[in-house]
């Protein structure tokens, strides 16, 4: 079995003992280790949960709501939605609730807090829940009603997905190339439905050498290829990341050497260039160096994809001693309070502000066109976020390009899409 099949088999709910084997296509009822929702999706989950009429959630330590999309509360309606999360968390005495000032972008926050762990089955009413596959968990996005059902029962039905393996050969990546470039390149190769309903398993020398933040970036975007989940078999990097954070026990699963994959794709990671996804699909990728004629109005460094400390460090290396181009507004959004504070201690925030960029409190904000950096008609942004659909960051006639932090920072300085090399870096 693949790691995904093993995790699901280990969580199967069946009267009369544990079932040892599952196969792709099979419908199973699985025990859920962790359930999450945010200020957009939790309100519906809460109302559906109340309709179900359950007296309590299945486990107060395994359900959490994170107000991150329109928080800090951007308007009265958003505030009402966030309040529902707070009230429910209090009324049902949930163990974890993250008010503004403690919260972060959910998919950066929960791994950091040690609430989502290797070997888990995790569901979230947010499509980027697949991020946690980087820890060796089965994690997938679902809707609010699914979350409501799992909150009540601690279980949910799944179709066991086929697995698709992606092998990245070669340890050494090109300068400034990171997890974002690997995943954009992959989505560009297979398309936005190239992994539809499948588990995307990433492996190879390049993945073994990849630090955790970059693994989280890769698994985060599995959904942009239609994937049900992304996953990386846990190793020493995983152990190091989880140790000291884990709030409960965890388990490492591996894929069998004879595991069956629906498809295997191989890449020479050493040849993958700095990559940008052009409007209006994440699969519309081009090497960043070929897009130097594209002028930009806004740069965003942040999000559940690339708002971690290492991402900020990478952008800061490029920004240091330079100024953001006068035609550009640059927003830097540390993904959690902890990242914010670390970045402050390291002097990164000062570098950004000195370069005339804006540093925001953690929020999903502009990524989904919510608030804090919305585009006008005809404006163009380069963002380290995950989606560039029509109207994603604002006006339906605005445009979003996607990249990693290095290209984003270099472009902010250049006023157009560009690569660090152009700045002598």
């Amino acid at each position: 079995m693949t790691i995904t099949e093993k995790i699901l088999a280990g969580h199967i709910v069946k009267s009369g003992g544990k079932k040892k084997k599952v196969s792709p296509g099979e419908l199973i009822n699985a025990k859920i280790d962790f359930v999450l929702a945010n200020d957009i999706t939790a309100p519906i989950a809460i109302s559906e949960f109340k309709k179900i009429g359950a007296r309590d959630v299945f486990d107060r330590k395994r359900v959490t709501f994170v107000p991150d999309h329109f928080a800090p509360q951007k308007d009265i309606k958003a505030a009402e939605q966030c309040r529902m999360l707070k009230d429910f968390s209090r009324d049902y005495r949930l163990a974890y609730y993250y008010e503004v000032g403690r919260m972060g972008v959910e998919h950066a926050l929960l791994p950091e807090e040690g609430l989502v762990l290797p070997g888990d089955v995790i569901i979230g009413a947010d499509s980027h829940t697949c991020t946690y596959g980087a820890l060796g968990a089965f994690a997938t996005g679902v809707g609010s009603t699914d979350v409501a059902s799992a909150m009540a029962t601690g279980e949910l039905w799944f179709k066991v997905p086929e697995s698709m393996k992606f092998i990245y050969h070669g340890r050494k990546l090109q300068k400034w190339v990171g997890g974002k470039d690997l995943i954009l390149h992959t989505i560009g190769d297979i398309g936005v439905d190239g992994a539809l309903y499948r588990a995307m398993e990433f492996e190879g020398e390049a993945i073994s050498a990849l630090p955790m933040h970059a693994r989280l970036t890769m698994c985060n975007m599995a959904i942009e290829a239609g994937g049900k989940s992304g996953i990386i078999v846990p190793d020493g990097v995983t152990e190091k990341y989880v140790k000291g954070r884990a709030k409960r026990g965890y388990k490492f699963y591996m894929s069998d050497p004879k595991a069956v994959y629906a498809e295997i794709r191989e890449y020479d990671a050493r040849k993958i260039p700095l990559t940008v996804a052009c409007p209006s699909l994440p699969s519309n990728t081009k090497p960043a160096a070929e897009l130097s004629s594209i002028s930009i109005d806004q740069v965003v460094v942040g999000s559940c994809t690339n708002g971690r400390l290492e991402d900020l460090r990478e952008a800061a290396k490029i920004i240091k001693g330079r100024k953001v181009n006068p035609n550009v507004r640059m927003l830097v959004i540390p993904a959690t309070q902890r990242i914010y504070r670390e970045a402050m201690k390291e002097g990164l925030l000062d570098l950004f502000v000195a370069a005339e960029a804006v540093v925001s409190t953690p929020t999903c904000g502009p990524c989904l066109g919510g608030h804090m950096g919305i585009l006008a008609r005809g404006e163009r942004a380069l963002a380290t976020t995950n989606r560039n659909f029509v109207g994603r960051m604002g006006h339906p006639e605005s445009e979003v390009y996607l990249s990693g932090p290095a290209v984003a920072a270099a472009s902010a300085v250049l006023g157009r899409i560009g690569v660090p090399e152009e700045l002598g870096l």
């Binding site: 419908l27 957009i40 999706t41 309100p43 519906i44 109302s47 559906e48 309709k51 179900i52 009429g53 359950a54 999309h69 329109f70 951007k74 308007d75 309606k77 958003a78 939605q81 979230g124 009413a125 947010d126 499509s127 829940t129 996005g141 679902v142 809707g143 609010s144 009603t145 699914d146 409501a148 059902s149 009540a152 029962t153 039905w157 179709k159 936005v192 439905d193 539809l196 309903y197 959904i223 239609g226 049900k228 699909l281 989904l368 066109g369 919510g370 989606r387 659909f389 029509v390 109207g391 994603r392 604002g394 339906p396």
Partner: protein
């Protein structure tokens, strides 16, 4: 029961931001959401769509976010059903969970015109257009069970009461 409705056609990879832009997600009120349904794919759609209409999409319909607001907006706008070549998986789950029937029919988009009235016969698994009869993919048995129970909420209620009876 057959479903009969006028067709609105959309292309491939219609994402949830096109179905209901995130800028309207500071509410989950179905009536409010319906006012902006499909707006970023066709600005005039909310004013053109009528109760009983049918949306026909290409491949990967509903890709992107997990927002249940997408099928809710479609349903609240009075659209009876969505037929597409294929659906993104979260949209597929959500539609069944909230009681919006949807059908996969890879051949339909090429064999139907905008504004045409089509007939869907779920029991027989066929769609009739001016160009003929086309097979829809059968609904997975568990999804049929969900529909039979009246959606996931009702199904979960039954499960909880069965648990209670078993003394768990």
């Amino acid at each position: 029961m057959t479903i009969k409705g006028r067709v609105w056609k959309f292309g491939d990879d219609i994402d949830t931001d096109a179905i209901i832009p995130a800028r309207y997600l500071n509410t989950s009120d179905p009536v409010e959401l319906a006012k902006h349904v499909m707006e970023d794919a066709d600005k005039a759609f909310p004013s053109k769509v009528k109760k009983g209409d049918v949306i026909v999409g290409g491949k990967n319909f509903g890709c992107g976010s997990s927002r249940e607001h997408a099928p809710i907006a479609i349903k609240a706008a009075g659209v009876q059903t969505v037929v597409a070549k294929s659906f993104a998986r979260i949209f597929f789950r959500n539609a069944f969970n909230i009681g919006l029937p949807i059908f996969e029919c890879p051949e339909l988009p090429e064999n139907v015109s905008e504004g045409e009235v089509i007939q869907i016969d779920p029991a027989k698994g066929v769609i009739r257009t001016k160009k003929g009869e086309f097979k829809v993919k059968p609904i997975p048995p568990f999804m049929a069970e969900l529909i039979g129970a009246g959606g996931l909420v009702e199904w979960t209620k039954k499960k909880l009461s069965a648990r209670k009876k078993a003394g768990k």
